[in-house]
Structures are given as structure tokens and as C-alpha cells.
Amino acid sequence: MTIPLSYYLLLSGIVFLTGVIGVLLRRNIIIILLSVELMLNATNINFVAFSQYFHDVGGQVFVFFALTVAAAEVAVGLAIIIALYRAKSTINIDEFQLLKW
């Protein structure tokens, strides 16, 4: 009656791929960052599922740290975006003239 591990893997795989596609396709820097959050959540699902499977708390600890890092990244990333917006008045990557992708 329990859910096989592979279901979790499949779910996280879908979410991860969605995130990757989002990063590659979208041009709004905010949405790119949201897509990165999707990738991180997919990772966390994996960790928690494996952690439950192994009965090992290590995976959950990893998620805890991943969350911390995600929060830190967001803070820095949004600060960069704000500073950039002040300088350029846009956060659309296509409009950054100096540095092309």
C-alpha cells in the first residue's frame, strides 16, 4: 500500500525538468529564478523521499541546508536585480545590451 520510491523520483524528475526548461526558455530574470526554485524543490523531494526510504535523517538535514542556501541565494539575487533595475530600468535579459547571452 506504500508508494514506491520510483514515483517520487518521477515526480521530482518532472519538476526538475520543468525548472530546467523554464531557465532555458524564459527571458524574464524573475521567472528564471523561480524556475531555479523549482529545481531546488525537486531536489528536496528526492532527498526527503530517500531519507524516508533509508530511515536516515541525513537527507532531511541536507534539505534543511539546501533551504538555507536557497534563501541566501534569493537575497543576493534579488539585490542584484534591484541594483540592475535601477541602472537599466529593465529586468528582461534580452535588453541587456552590453553582455549578450
Binding site: M1, I14, I31, L34, V61, T68, A79
Partner: protein, 173 residues
Amino acid sequence: MEQAFFFYFAFVIAAASVLVIAVRNPIYSAMALLVMFFHVAGLYVTLHAEFLAAVQIIVYAGAILVLYLFVVMLLNMRQDDRYHRQWPMAAAVGLTLFIEAVILTAMKGWTAPPVATGRETTVGEAGNTEAIGDVLYSTYLFPFEVASLILLVAMIGAIILAKKDPEAVNSEG
């Protein structure tokens, strides 16, 4: 029963993920992400990671996403239409969160750890918050400190980068 829960959470998570990258308006994206965060937290509860579920909601939904929305509101002035069609989205978000809340209350008492392999640090029966707290300050003390440094960098970095007046730092000449 558990499978039903899983499939519900999985479906909403996947659908919300796709929405995050599919909709045009960053606000809608963020809202879809909010739904996703809540359901991931729900999934954690079904996996007996209550502590992480709480952290997920507090940190992701409470802090990170609010930060995103704040920045989106602050910067994205051009899309004026976002105020007009917000009720369907509000309804969608509200509905899914409501369903999730119902499910999580309904599955209280469901405990079925799949396979016990007996690793070094096993999750206690009493819930995992205590177990995580225990290892966090013993086994994982070192990464804990590193993480604190990461937060320090983020804090100071954000302050430096987002400070309003770039000329203020140039006082030295």
C-alpha cells in the same frame, strides 16, 4: 488511501510547476509557485518530515516568495493589467490550499514507514524534529556553521548591492 494523497500532491505539484514557467505574468508565476510550495510541504508530511514541512512553508512561502513578490511589485511597473484578472487566480490558489488542508487533516495518524534499513541516524518514532535538531548541533555542526556564513554573506551582500546611492561609497575619491 496514501496513494490517493500522493497522486493529488504529485499532480498539483507538477501542474503548478508547469504553470510557473508557462504563464506570462511574474505574479501568476509566483502564485503558482506558492501553491507548489504548499503541496511539497504536504508531501513532506506524508513522508514523515514534519519539521521540513514547517520549514518549507516558513522559509519558502513565508520568506522567499514574499521577497520575490516584493521585488516583482517594486520593479515590474509596466504590466498594469495584472490587477484586473486576479480573482480567478485567487480562487485557484485558495481552492488548492483548502483541499490540501483537508487532506492533511484527514491523514492524521497515518504511519507506514516503508523499509527499515537501520542507518546511522534513524528517524525516531516521536517525529523527526527532535532527531534533526539533535544531529544539527552534533553531527552536522560544521555545515551548520558554514550555512551561517552563507547567510552572513547574503545579508551583507544584499545590503551592499541594494544600497540606494552608489556615489555614497565613493566618498574617498
